[in-house]
């Protein structure tokens, strides 16, 4: 966003509570790599220039790329600056930080969607014998007690963490709610290559049937592993991970799992089938069909028969629970009336309902890829254009 504003000669500052790419430095587990291939990590004016376009960056490589980019575009970043309040003042906003105050005509909320782990209320009723972590406080399997681990959540984070913990010798159970199944590779190409090429990732927020639901769709079960392995539930079952239904409640010391596992898997299998249909249709219309391996479908998700509906958390089988149940944004510092009943900013494609306020870096903000670096690139260009027009309009009406 800073680069796009500079391109338009719009005077601005970037406020960062820690260092550039702070969350990637401090809030990610050790083995995490980007879900998107390197070629897809385009930043405004900066296509991927390395020698491994199909590889996946580690978290520390992401930090390096972001820090270098900030330097290259001369972003006016104020690090170590925590925003404590944003409120309306005169025709613009007053931004209060622990390093002083700023007045501005426009403000871009780029604090992201992943600020606070979303943990169910019943987490407080777990027996004390079980250690708990979140995706934000988990680093690697070796810091965990020996013994069983319950990973709650089967989106990208949950399946990756479950995989490496099972590999470490600790038996893993994964509680599976709604999820999006994906293979890493299909017909010889990366799934993200297909989704990009077929236009799936470019689908706009004002073109989908139900944008509220689309913004809540969990991340696809993929990982950026160098061997391009698939991380779906069958892959987990294949290495001995046990699947149970959504973690529904705690009764006494007993964890209760939903009996909906079979349908959650059926929904994900059908959704994957529709995605592959879209890809296959695009391959035909684009003339690519003959130059890639033929279409195929993946084995339906294997569901344990019968699925387990509960287990005793005080029985010793489970020593650690890891909440991989997603995040929510933290707007405790935002003193502007733009939050809906679920504490999300009311916005239209990133243009917030408060004049001159913008949001960036949220799921499906303007397009399906908005939560990826590649999507932020396009979103920043669109929103910088809107912001510039807003300032021009204000200047014109003042004349």
């Amino acid at each position: 966003m800073s680069r796009c504003l500079s391109d338009r000669s719009i005077d601005h500052v970037v406020l960062e509570r820690g260092e550039v790419a702070n969350a990637w430095r401090t809030e990610r587990w050790d083995s995490l790599r980007l879900l998107t291939p390197n070629w897809q990590c385009r930043l405004p004016g900066s296509p991927y220039g390395g020698d491994d376009p199909d590889g996946f960056m580690t978290a520390s490589e992401v930090v390096d790329v972001m820090a270098q980019y900030a330097k290259a575009v001369a972003a006016p970043v104020h690090t170590g600056t925590t925003v404590t309040s944003v409120r309306r003042a005169d025709d613009g906003y007053l931004v209060v930080t622990d390093q002083g105050e700023w007045r501005c005509e426009t403000v871009v909320l780029a604090s992201g969607a992943f600020n606070v782990p979303r943990v169910p209320e019943f987490a407080s009723a777990l027996p004390p014998s079980v250690a708990t972590r979140t995706t934000m406080t988990y680093h690697n399997p070796h810091e965990l007690d020996d013994g069983g681990v319950l990973v709650v959540g089967a989106s990208a984070s949950g399946v990756q963490i479950a995989h490496e913990i099972q590999r470490s010798g600790r038996p893993v159970t994964v509680a599976v709610g709604e999820h999006v199944r994906g293979p890493r590779m299909y017909r010889g190409r990366d799934i993200h290559w297909w989704m990009h090429a077929a236009g799936v990732l470019d689908e706009r927020y004002d073109e989908v049937d139900d944008i509220v639901r689309a913004r809540r769709v969990p991340s696809m079960q993929i990982a950026g592993s160098p061997d391009r392995a698939t991380f779906d539930l069958n892959a987990l079952t294949g290495i001995g991970v046990q699947l149970v239904g959504k973690f529904a409640a705690v009764s006494g010391t007993r964890a209760q799992f939903s009996g909906s596992l079979r349908n959650k898997c059926a929904l994900a299998d059908l959704k994957l089938g529709r995605l592959l249909d879209t890809i296959d249709e695009w391959a035909i219309t684009s003339g690519l069909d003959d130059s890639v391996p033929p279409p195929h479908r993946f084995e339906p998700t294997r569901v344990p028969e019968p699925p387990r509906l509960g287990l005793d958390l005080a029985g010793g089988e489970i020593r650690t629970i890891i909440w991989a149940t997603g995040y929510r944004p933290d707007y405790s510092w935002l003193d502007v009336d733009v939050l809906d009943a679920k504490s999300m900013v009311r916005h239209d494609g990133g243009v917030a309902e408060s004049p001159g306020m913008y949001v960036i870096g949220m799921p499906f903000l303007r397009r399906r890829k908005s939560s990826f670096i590649d999507g932020a690139c396009d979103d920043a260009q669109d929103l910088a254009g809107h912001l510039a027009a807003f300032l021009d309009g204000r200047a014109a009406s003042a004349r």
């Binding site: 209760q256 909906s260 349908n263 059926a266 929904l267």
Partner: protein, 186 residues
């Protein structure tokens, strides 16, 4: 697959449902409903439960007519069999809920249904309710629902109707997830 010749009609008023969603987004408190049933013991295992009024959209509401349900146990349980067993009513609720959902989702997706039939089976080890073995639960050990659907759609589209219906079903949720139940004497 969409039929182009005649408009899809499964007898579901989708516009009204979408309208309700919009209205309830603006006034979420109107979405708080209370469903009620009143039960009176007859004799033995026979009781009659009546469904008449409920609360919703911020006001007391009434069904078009009173519905009465006789509940009893079969003669092999030394009862008089004046009605379906309570657990069979659970199956009635599940079948009715999922089937209504299939119709609504089909209408929403512009899929014409020609016929929908379901068989619902609940497996139960009655040693649980007879108190013979505390390791056996009282309720169903499993429930199986089989749908036969004839519709102007592909097999995967029909499977997706049934999957989406489960996703949105109240009774499916009630059965598959724990519910806080309080029973008191007043």
């Amino acid at each position: 697959m969409t039929s182009t010749a005649t408009p899809v009609n499964n007898g579901v008023n989708v516009e009204a449902l979408l309208g309700a969603r919009t209205a309830l987004t603006d006034a979420p408190q109107a979405a708080d409903f209370t469903w009620r049933a009143t039960c009176e013991w007859r004799n033995g295992t026979h009781s009659t439960t009546v469904v008449d009024d409920f609360f919703g959209l911020g006001a007391e509401q009434k069904h078009r007519t009173r519905y009465s349900f006789d509940v009893d146990h079969p003669e092999i349980f030394a009862s008089e069999d004046n009605g379906a067993t309570p657990v069979e009513y659970i199956l009635v609720g599940l079948a009715g809920c999922l089937t209504a959902g299939v119709a609504a989702v089909a209408q929403m997706r512009e899929i014409q249904l020609n016929s929908v039939a379901a068989t619902v089976e609940g497996a139960m080890d009655v040693r649980g309710i007879l108190g013979m073995d505390t390791d056996v639960r009282n309720g169903f050990s499993s429930i199986k629902v089989s749908y036969k659907i004839d519709a102007d759609a592909t097999p995967d589209e029909i499977k997706a109707l049934v999957a989406q219906s489960q996703k949105r079903s109240a009774v499916y949720d009630i059965i598959t997830n724990p519910t806080d139940v309080r029973v008191e004497v007043v």
